[in-house]
Amino acid sequence: MNGAGRVLSGLAAIVYALILAPIVVVVALAFSADSFILFPPSGYSLRWFRQLAGHAPLLNALWLSVQIASVVTLLSLAVGVPAALALAKGRFAWRDALTNFFLAPLLLPTLIAGLALLLFFTPLRLTATLPGLVLGHMTVTVPFVIRMMTTAFQTLPDDIEAAAATLGAKPWRVVWRVTLPLVTPGLIACACLSFLLSFDETVISLFLSGPRAATLPVEMVRYVEGRTDPLIAALSVLLIVATLIVVVVVERLVGVARAVGK
């Protein structure tokens, strides 16, 4: 048999159109000249991009989200990469149990995690604060970093490190001069995805955001609940472009399917 066959390819093409429809429609709507959601738009303009450039709540939320995602990414790598290194290279009895412990948070729905964090943070006065949101997002990104980097460390060929050790390099020197440079592509891909995970995190942020500290997705949810005009579409174009950049970088470095799958 050769390839997918005509019937199957046709069916797949239809589904692809469905998958891409919401994204294509949002991009087209961003250039609408109408004051409400009308598709196809009756005319095209850049008015919603101009409107966005002057919309303080959304721009403030965007800036807050960029700050949070940057801090979350740095801290998650600092906590997660050493753990992944130990899991991949160390030899100890309770490694499997520990691996499961680190992966468990990825299985907990963010709805439950968000509620648990709200109850935990409120008496500590951490809700609607930058530290609170950072810690909340890290419950998602730290396990993600550990999972992705453990795989990255495990797939490294052992012989280069063994050679360095044989030539007299101390274990820490091997890690610093051989192991880490070898996983740099994985590390960059992992950083990009952690940033995106934090930047897009909606449910945990909704639980933890107050009127003072609202991240971009929270502000977008509030806007969509109140009004329906193409302003969010204009903002969405920026988010889609940013996501595409991350997707291209990750695909080039390690492969998207490998990074987000198990």
Binding site: M1, N2, G3, A4, G5, V7, L8, L11, A12, V15, L18, I19, A21, P22, I23, V26, F36, I37, L38, F39, V79, P82, A83, A86, L87, R91, F92, L98, F101, A104, L108, P109, L111, I112, A113, A116, L119, F120, G136, M138, T139, V142, P143, L196, D200, T202, L206, F207, P217, V224, E225, I232, A233, S236, I240, T243, A257, V260, G261, K262
Partner: protein, 280 residues
Amino acid sequence: MTGSTRLNLLVLPAVLFLLAVYVWPTLGLFRNAFNEVGPTGAMVEAWSLKTGAEVFADGFTFELTLNSLWLSLTSTLIALVLSYPVSLFLFRTNSRFRGLLAVIAIMPMLISGVVRVFGWLAILGDRGLVNTLAQSLGLISTPMRLVFNWTGVTIGLAESIMPYMILALLAGFGQLDRTLEEASRSLGATPFRTFLRVTLPLSLPALALAAGLGFVLSMSAYITPKLLGGGRVFVLATEIFEQATTNTNWPVAAMLAIYTLGLLLLLLAISNIAARRLQR
């Protein structure tokens, strides 16, 4: 070896972090479910089953459960039917664009959920793509209500879980033996008959696992039911959020969350058992 012992210590920061910000809050969630709400609406520390009794005596909880299960079932089935051909296509194709096509299929899971929900508003809204098209073709005279009801939520949810199911199905197809299909074809079976009698039965375990995953994801989804439901769609997820934030009734929110988590674990166990049975 001392170097190796010190290497093991590298897990400590991550362990401490997760103990403090994941394990401890989750235990706190369980603890909260046994607190009571006093007559003033303030929370009273207690070890009682009063909150639990109230939640489960309320007919609304039962209604929410049925709503959640029905919504998850319909959106999972739609997503399964749509994901299957894409996964099989990606598994079989020799196209040099295979890598790119796989990325496009799973890319939506990296795009913000709010963005995709907004896209569906533009497609399904009163003046959206579908209604404009149907009206200009003369199929309908007044717009169909496709959002801010169960229809919109089901469509949006099905779309949002598809990337995960496509990945799960692709992983499952890895075990499919191509020589069996070739044997069926060479013995004279039509492609359709080969699909029905060989390919489909062999992919049933993968389908069961993907269905379990889709079910769990759609039952715990909050953004899609909230925004595409427009306040008219009530499921367990929306009620948990409502109780926790608007009503600040933490014991009830915690009890509902634990109940939902229990349902999710049960559903996952069922799909895993089904997958194992079908494997034989």
